[in-house]
Amino acid sequence: MEESNQAGSAFRLYDSIPHGLFVLRPDFTVVFWNACIAGWTGIPADKARGMNILKEYPSLNTPSVISRITQLFEGGPAVLFSQMFHRHLIPCRLPNGALRVLKISCIPLDYAGEICALVVAEDITDLTSQVEAYRGMKNLTERQLDELKKVQESLFVANRKLNFLNSLIRHDILNQLTPLNISIDLARLDYHDPALIRVFDTVTRSSRNIQRQIEFTQVYQITGTRPAIWQNVAGTFLTAADSLNLRDIRLKTDLPDVEVFADPLLERVFLILLDNSLRHGEKISTIRCSGTRCNDGFLLVYRDDGVGVPADAKEKIFRREFFKYTGFGLFLAQEILGITNITIRENGIPGKGAQFEIIVPPDMYRLVTRE
């Protein structure tokens, strides 16, 4: 009794610690049992003192546990028992009846002339639940990602087949147009009636429109066939400019080291803009490309100092049916950018030059920091 009182006063400080704590002698009897572990186990401290822990908790009475704690009693280092290998070494229930998940450390402690073990039991039930929930979410995400990949692969296969079919049909239509055009041309040689010539002209115009539209489907078909990738804006713009004869037009870029997530045809977008400046700008001396962060993400500005776009055509130039005047280029540029939700608009001042603003959403651009 006297010894237990001594132990009680020696370890009283441990009563205020919010972990289960008890002290074991080398014969596995309890010397001290703190208030927390008493609460968790329902065994009061006065009953626990002198109790053999191996008899009370058979889960501890296994060779793998005993041999390791014995090492400690023989002067060895602290012993750790993780929840992954020993989920309920000392079964303690929560108020809802579920078992607490405990992490247990046995630390050597000199007491009354012998090496004892200070056993610390930390309740990590909440942490364990959180980690398990996180793992569940991670596994679910991985499964969904796998499924998405499968769907993506099958879509690519289906797309490839459709493209193949489209190219066959396109080829067949163009093959039909050739004899049609030749027949009309031959007929023009034999028939000179003005009424018939008007009919020939209408047929020829329609035939050329069909041919042009078919050729456009060939270009449009390749957009979105390859997955979007991160591309350096300045590099892509300069590559596009290099492939054109810009004559004596000055090229100025003021771009940070920025990458955008876009269809691999991004270079073609710049080609279209440059070609548009060359064809319709009339008096261009300078083309500028600049960029900066904005509220909507990243703002990329392409500007020339040509005649600009008339106010009533600013929106129309992006429409497919406007191809008669601008070609399908700007419609195609809009479609290529739209694959990754990038938008384009023209807002230059007519007479002072064209200005195309390309807005890249926040998750579709990244500023590059190089080490």
Partner: protein
């Protein structure tokens, strides 16, 4: 640079580490029900400052997971068990029987790895202390991640002059072999005292 140490002493050290590792394998098998074999193919002695140039490729890796234990006594230093972080998660999963496609070392698996390291270190240190009849005092083991030199150099002013006893371990579980290192980093002067203890014990 390798210290001049006679073959018998190095053999004795290898034997001590082997006893400890054998015991650790037994305890791990008993605890997990797995068939783990721990092999010690190499034991060498290198200067701490030259550890990155040692035969252990592992120690020059960037991402390591280590369990470390400080000890003091006749000879003092740190014992560490080190794994590449990428395979540490696989090791824990094999031991716990979990099945996951891309394992990562989350908080629960870190605790399990700490226990694995604790078993190995305790067995090795127990074997050394028991055979040599030395009483050592130990800190509580800690877990660390990162570069080995950074995690061990911390608060060690004379680390450059310390000796490291390096034992390469292979964990052979099922069809997998996971490499780890067991290191005894001995404070200045401790190697001589360890060697002295070994010679004394072998003569006795």
């Amino acid at each position: 640079m390798t210290k001049e140490i006679d073959v018998e002493t190095l053999d004795a050290i290898r034997e001590l580490v082997n006893i400890g590792v054998g015991k650790a394998a037994g305890q791990l098998n008993q605890m997990t029900g797995s068939h783990i074999r721990l092999q010690i193919p190499l034991v060498s002695l290198v200067r701490f400052s030259e550890i990155a140039k040692s035969e252990s490729q592992l120690l020059s890796d960037k991402e390591l997971s280590a369990v470390l234990l400080e000890f003091r006594g006749t000879f003092s230093g740190i014992t560490a068990v080190v794994f590449p972080s990428a395979s540490a998660a696989s090791l824990v999963m094999l031991l716990t029987g979990e099945k996951e496609k891309s394992p990562e070392l989350d908080a629960m698996r870190v605790e399990a790895l700490k226990e694995v390291g604790n078993i190995i270190i305790n067995s090795v240190m127990g074997s050394i202390a028991n055979v040599l009849g030395e009483r050592l005092t130990y800190s509580v083991p800690v877990y660390n991640e990162g570069r080995f030199l950074t995690m061990t150099k911390l608060q060690r002013q004379d680390a450059e002059n310390e000796w490291v006893l390096l034992a390469r371990t292979n964990f052979l579980i099922e069809l997998l072999s996971i490499e780890g290192d067991i290191l005894l980093i001995l404070e200045v002067g401790s190697l001589d005292r360890l060697v002295e203890s070994i010679r004394r014990a072998s003569h006795a």
